[in-house]
Symmetry: C2
Amino acid sequence: MSLGEFELIARLLRPLASGFPGALELGDDAALVEVPSDRQLVVAKDAIVEGVHFLPDDPPELVAGKLLRVNLSDLAAMGADPLAYLTVIARPPHLEDRWLEDFARGLADDQARFGLHLIGGDTVATPGPLLLSLTVLGLVPRGAALLRSGARPGELVCVSGTLGDAAMGLRILRGLAVPEELVPPLVERYRTPRPRLALGRALRGLASAAIDVSDGLLADLGHVLERSSVGAEIELARLPLSEAARGLPGARSCALSGGDDYELLFTLPQQHEGLLPELATRAGVPIAVIGRTTTEPGLRVLDPEGRPMTIERTGWRHF
Amino acid sequence: MSLGEFELIARLLRPLASGFPGALELGDDAALVEVPSDRQLVVAKDAIVEGVHFLPDDPPELVAGKLLRVNLSDLAAMGADPLAYLTVIARPPHLEDRWLEDFARGLADDQARFGLHLIGGDTVATPGPLLLSLTVLGLVPRGAALLRSGARPGELVCVSGTLGDAAMGLRILRGLAVPEELVPPLVERYRTPRPRLALGRALRGLASAAIDVSDGLLADLGHVLERSSVGAEIELARLPLSEAARGLPGARSCALSGGDDYELLFTLPQQHEGLLPELATRAGVPIAVIGRTTTEPGLRVLDPEGRPMTIERTGWRHF
């Protein structure tokens, strides 16, 4: 038997609102949110579709985690702190209550981990695939948000963690054969993004621009360059690759164009270069300098011999 | 040819963000929203699915209007002023660009009418039906939000406008034969909700509880009673019916249980009864007193002879 909407909300979702008075126990027309006068609200909204962004047999807890973390990654890229979120669950007839229970448990785990609460949303029936949408709210000190538009020529182009692991993990899920011990770390990178919230926070007042790497390094750096009206030159040899991905065919291609890494890509004025080790320590993630911004527009990738490379694929589009 | 995601955003949606600096031209990871220190943020999120909440041949402008207005109605029920919204468009392969163009035009018209801006969202591909989700943000003076939980025994139960028209409009769209001149006003009530924002605003500090009638009078009044821990008695003869619906079979049943009217249902302390004519004038909509709240729990409907009626259907659920 399928849970009705009201029972679903009451039993699975209402506990996720507990501890946030403005959520009004998910029992009112809308939620109330306090924004301290020295803060700005930061809002982002994403959606994922079964069969497109996740697979029918993906564990529901991980789907919940990915949905929440992808949105938290947007907050990280703005330098914001998580506050609250709203969900839409568009439920196909075939979906078991059990799936929703596990999904809610995944939300519960991650909202505790990242310090935010469910405050509202909607559940609807759909004859189509399961669709999940999430709106995340965060807070940032007034005027301190990291934007894509602040990069200036002559700054360092930096990225956290390692690149290409998630794309490699997806290739493995789709059948790429790799040594057995490499499967878990790479697949986990694809399934469980790590939003770099501590790094985003640490970069306030330092980074001139930031974005999270969701569409792929080239595409996302391209967004920063376009919004900032600068160019950039990056060096292939400097791309941070994980131990797991390093030896696999296509690792550099995944690092350049693979999506879903959810690392932070940011530009840093040269004068702050000496702070990078401390920033990495505070954020708990390595930071690599992969190039610099230029007055000349466009994005150039230099091969290990310093020669400009021709890049064909600049990340993927959603449709 | 189908527009890619970036082109779609640039061409159709970006103009809707113009005039709201914190939308960052829909070109950043998230939007920035200022909340004045004497205000609270009000947030609601809804979704509608093709074939469930709207029909494939419904005019796209009207679908856009309904999506936005349904959410604005939630703001009205909280006594909030509209500020901004975010959308998710889950796009099936068959959907023409033309549909999206008309949809965007519908959003443009209504956001100008109601004074809010698009500030973000997501577009994704889906193999299923078109799904549209909207998150609306509003502002309310601190502490002045109208909640469902504030009703006390002995207050007036009031409702704006007329009830049952939208449900009758839907019956007509599904084939109910009615005199020709009744079709436009009833179908329009179903397709184009009128969020009672001015009334919500006028009720701040006066109404003890409020909700918008989306699931049907009985169901929505039930929500207020449950959240407020009171009962109510309403009189069938007092339900406000439109000229168009009045003579049709099932008019009272539609008024009791039909959804989608998006009128405001509220409770008003007896001492404010004398303000009702002025409230109606300020809000530009009639207000009817349909009953009163009681200490005795539960909802009782009295027939024209004052006898309690047995009610079978108390509104519909979403799945």
